[in-house]
């Protein structure tokens, strides 16, 4: 243990701790901008500087390790002058645009400007005047707001191993830009949105499409139908001032109805369907010597990654569309027919934890219903904003049920939202299909949790099936390199682009720390635990759709509506 004093308070912390960590131990929070709880120290913003006795220079709290007997002062006049001046400097080229900014009231720079009472900035405001990058359907970059903390670069390079972002130029002309200064769409970016979570300010954000939604609701000729992804419910509460998992599903449904959705359905339904299609695809591949290991295909950020970096492995991808797209093609065919609604009138909105889904919905091949299958994708955050605008108090809203057909789901679908969830859901079904025995304990706890790469083996009637799970694309890359070199021992691999899985998706309530992701995962398993049915193949509506419409997994109709194909992206620079 290292003993030191911070502002006169004695602190004892383990060796290797930083001043910032030690200060937190005694309830002193240093201001930070470039520091990120799950990233390497950068020490470039300098707002965390402190006085350390014996040093002429102020020391950055986030990067300076404590030493025995160290005397730290965190709020002397010199320290405060330094922090305020640095903030003034940063703000002096920052568009004074808080009222219009997507991060208004959720911005680390705004918070510090407020805390440090930046009033009359002595430096003349000089906004840099970059153009907005709206090249992707998912993500917008506003370089004028960038404070060059480089957290997005860390997220993109270290967490995701995509390396789409870097610094170009020097000094005051330096800027964080996509590869070779290209528009984001032309870089290898996979649209996962992890950079959004990392950004302390409004320099990267989702392509907000609330106007499109409001226009659809206002259009009397449109029937607005929504699907809610598995990872939404437990996180949406965070957007309206509740704890993770606290908002009951039924109240959420009422909230959506109030916002003008005509029919509220559930992506969980097609998550269950995915399990039947994908589970059977796996069994086929195992039986008939198809390409193995098979990769899950429900994470569009991952699909983009595979198409960009591993085009040679596209045959390994399950041909199943993501649950969102399965839902999209079914809602304008099966559901429309069943409801007696003209599919041309259906405006299909999906509520997703994901920015890459906005892109996925816009893929030209995603129109198997004869229309664009999913018309609009709104992220959890966008729905959160709609909810806040609505003035609804979710503590008082009465509950209501999903609409019928494609609204029922099982615990297996619920866990799709967490890393390992698709795998566990698949195992619950595949086990029973192959062994024709009831699975006594449905909990495959070995595939759960925040570990980057997890593996498990299941005995299916004497055949050992080896599975692996990765979340976060740098972990995926490890498994892919193994596959590429022919050394992968697995039969089935689940990949989710985002750390923690969809609960940490790029469209979820802003999550700076992985701790929050772990909390959401916990909430997801609580929900699964409480479901009366926990195996996809036991979903009664799924049984009905096969009886009435699809007839069999991997059948003709399935192929037409539920499966897809992939293309190498051939990006110019990787």
């Amino acid at each position: 243990m290292i003993n030191l004093t911070i502002d006169g308070i004695n602190v004892s912390v383990s060796k290797g701790s930083t001043i910032l960590q030690a200060a937190r131990e005694v309830g002193i929070y240093l201001p930070t901008l470039c520091w990120h709880p799950d990233q390497a120290v950068k020490a470039n913003c300098r707002v965390c500087v402190c006085e350390v006795e014996g040093n002429r220079l102020l020391q950055a709290g986030c990067s300076t390790p404590v030493t025995e007997g160290m005397v730290v002062k965190t709020k002397t006049p010199q320290v405060i002058e330094a922090r305020r001046t640095i903030l003034e400097l940063i703000l002096s080229n920052h568009p004074q645009d808080c009222l219009n900014c997507i991060r208004n009231q959720n911005c680390e720079l705004q918070d510090l400007a407020n805390e440090y009472m930046i009033r009359d900035n002595p430096f003349e405001l000089k906004v840099r005047g970059y153009k907005l990058d709206r090249s992707t359907p998912s993500i917008v970059r506003d370089q004028d707001k960038c404070i060059l903390c480089r957290r997005c670069i860390d997220a993109c390079s270290v967490t995701q191993s995509v390396f789409a972002l870097g610094v170009e130029g020097r000094g005051v002309n330096s800027m964080v830009v996509p590869t070779m200064g290209l528009p984001l769409m032309e870089s290898p970016c996979v649209l996962c949105g992890q950079c959004i979570h990392a950004c302390p300010v409004g320099a990267i954000y989702e392509n907000e499409q609330i106007d499109e939604f409001l226009a659809a609701v206002a259009d009397p000729d449109k029937i607005v139908v929504t699907q809610i992804a598995p990872a939404i419910r437990l996180a949406i509460g965070e957007e309206v001032g509740m704890n993770t998992g606290e908002l009951p599903m039924e109240v959420f449904v009422t909230g959506l109805r109030q916002m003008g959705f005509d029919h509220v359905l559930h992506t969980n339904f097609t998550a269950d369907l995915t399990i039947l299609e994908e589970g059977n695809e796996l069994l086929n591949r195992l039986k008939e010597g198809g390409t193995l290991p098979m990769f899950t295909s429900c994470s569009p950020g991952w699909i983009n990654f595979c198409e960009t970096f591993y085009p040679d492995l596209l045959d390994n991808l399950s041909t199943c569309k993501s649950p969102q797209q399965m839902f999209g093609s079914l809602v304008k065919t099966y559901w429309a027919e069943k409801m007696g609604i003209d599919p041309a009138k259906i405006y299909s909105v999906s509520i997703m934890p994901c920015t890459a889904k906005k892109y996925e919905a816009s893929r030209p091949e995603m129109n198997s219903s004869g229309y664009r299958d999913v018309d609009l994708v709104l992220t959890t955050r966008e729905i959160g904003r709609l909810f806040r605008m609505s003035g609804m108090d979710f503590n008082q809203l009465p509950p209501s049920d999903f609409d019928s057909w494609m609204g029922k789901y099982t615990g297996a679908a619920v866990i799709f939202g967490a890393t390992g969830g698709v795998m566990e859901a698949a195992l619950r079904t595949v086990y029973e299909v192959v062994t024709e025995q009831e699975l006594k304990d449905v909990n495959f706890t070995g595939v759960r949790g925040m570990e980057g790469i997890k593996e498990a083996a299941v005995d299916l009637n004497g055949t050992e099936v080896k599975v692996a799970i990765a979340h976060g694309l740098s972990n995926a890359r490890k498994l892919m390199d193994q596959v590429r070199s022919g050394e992968s021992p697995y039969h089935f691999i689940e990949i989710m682009a985002c750390p923690g899985g969809c609960i940490g998706g790029g469209g979820q309530p802003l999550t700076k720390a992985n701790k929050k992701r772990a909390e959401r995962i916990e909430a997801i398993y609580v929900e699964d635990e409480g479901m009366p049915i926990r195996k996809s193949h036991e979903n009664p509506e799924v049984k009905i759709i096969y009886d009435e419409f699809l007839h069999e997994p991997l059948g003709h109709k399935s192929h037409e509506l539920l499966h897809t194909h992939y293309h190498a992206k051939n990006k110019r620079y990787l």
């Binding site: 470039n44 300098r46 390790p65 400097l89 940063i90 080229n93 020097r170 005051v172 002309n173």
Partner: protein, 407 residues
């Protein structure tokens, strides 16, 4: 009065730099042999005792720095020579490398033995292609002669940015990354090149070592000012008669440098100020000219030794204009990694340009001083920390010139 004294440049003009035999005939590589006969810790203790301090600007005790790398547990360690010499008006390292490259190699080899390194790099300024050629030839000869034993040296060409002379930016650059400083600690002697213990020393620092090892620490420690003993090479530029270089003991005063060695100001003009140590050096007025050119003595007057560039400004020069240009230099050379330097250098340049163009206000000076106070203690690396010095010291010593522009 001090006389010129050549330790580092002892072979200047006496040998053919491209003949290792010449160097050896002058007693070259005896020191390395002697060093290798000592234990590593004795050698380091000797260097420490000589009180040799880094000639690259920061003035850190050389032997002490080595002892950190020596004490660091690692199978691989590196010796890096900082030959980036990006400071305008400075060419002392080039002088050494062009005229006595073997002295540098011998100094590096002594260090390598002391800390237990097998690989060395010379990071040489990219604008010195002829020097790189000389170094490569010198290395080849030393290898052929076998004097370096199992110590290998590779020359790397600099990336052209001023900041790459900062030791951690230099390390990043050798590693193939954008030349940007790292935060410290950890310092290079514990985690440097590729995360391994690394000694980065300046060319002049290394070139001192053969003489120190050969003649002993006491000899060296007795030369010049005890707190910063030995000699220092100065390169004179600006309004001074002898625009050339001198190696002088460190008890030489600034006045002697300018008037005795430099021959005074041309055309009978009066002295106005001198900037020592390169672009980021303080401007020193007449009243402080009797300060010896040793590290701590310079610190007491708020100045530095830096690279040893001496830039003399006579009474006819517009010092505000000079300071404004320097501010522009730093705006251009800031790497942009840390906020106070990235934004601060640009603001200083902007405000100085304003003042220089006659649009300044007195409140600008207060703002410049505030920037100076903050940047000098908050920036990530020495560039940003030192960048405000020329502006701040000219405001301090030549307020009338500023007032004349403002009013």
């Amino acid at each position: 009065m001090a006389e010129e004294m050549r330790i580092v440049l002892r072979n200047y003009g006496k040998i053919d730099p491209l003949k290792i035999e010449d160097y050896i005939a002058q007693g070259g590589y005896k020191a390395l042999e002697k060093a290798r006969s000592m234990s590593q810790s004795d050698l380091i203790a000797e260097v420490k005792k000589s009180n040799l301090r880094g000639r690259g600007g920061a003035g850190f005790n050389c032997g002490q720095k080595w002892s950190f790398a020596y004490g660091a547990e690692s199978d691989i360690k590196y010796v890096v020579c900082n030959a980036d010499e990006g400071e305008p008006g400075t060419y002392k390292d080039r002088l050494i490398m062009e005229n006595d490259p073997q002295a540098l190699l011998e100094g590096m080899a002594i260090c390598a033995y002391a800390i237990g390194a097998k690989q060395g790099y010379i990071y040489c300024r990219g604008e010195y292609p002829q020097v790189i050629k000389i170094l490569n030839q010198a290395i080849e000869q030393a290898v052929t002669k076998g004097v370096l034993a199992d110590f290998a040296i590779e020359v790397r060409s600099g990336a052209g940015a001023y900041v790459c002379g900062e030791e951690t930016a230099l390390i990043e650059s050798i590693e193939g990354s954008r030349g940007e400083p790292r935060f410290k600690p950890p310092y290079p002697p514990s985690q440097g090149l590729w995360g391994k213990p690394t000694i980065v020393n300046n060319v002049e620092t290394f070139a001192n070592l053969p003489a120190i090892v050969e003649n002993g620490a006491d000899w060296y420690a007795s030369i010049g000012v005890p707190s910063y003993p030995g000699t220092k090479i100065f390169t004179l530029t600006g309004d001074v008669n002898n625009c050339t270089f001198f190696e002088v003991p460190t008890n030489t005063t600034i006045r002697e440098l300018i008037y005795k060695f430099g021959g005074g100001i041309p055309a009978g003009k009066k002295f106005k100020a001198v900037q020592i140590g390169g672009t980021s050096g303080a401007f020193i007025p007449e009243s402080q000219l009797d300060t010896p050119v040793a590290f701590d003595n310079m610190s007491t007057i708020g100045a530095t030794l830096g690279s040893g560039a001496v830039f003399v400004v006579d009474e006819t020069r517009d010092i505000v204009d000079v300071a404004a240009r320097i501010a522009g230099f730093f705006e251009h050379e800031s790497c942009g990694k840390c906020a106070p330097c990235r934004e601060g250098t640009a603001r200083i340049a902007e405000i100085m340009e304003n003042i220089n163009d006659g649009f300044g206000e007195m409140s600008d000076l207060a703002l410049l001083k505030k920037l100076g106070r903050v940047m000098s203690v908050s920036c990530l690396c020495g560039l940003g920390q030192a960048a405000p010095a020329p502006v701040i010291t000219t405001i301090e010593h030549f307020m009338a010139d500023y007032q004349a522009k403002i009013l």
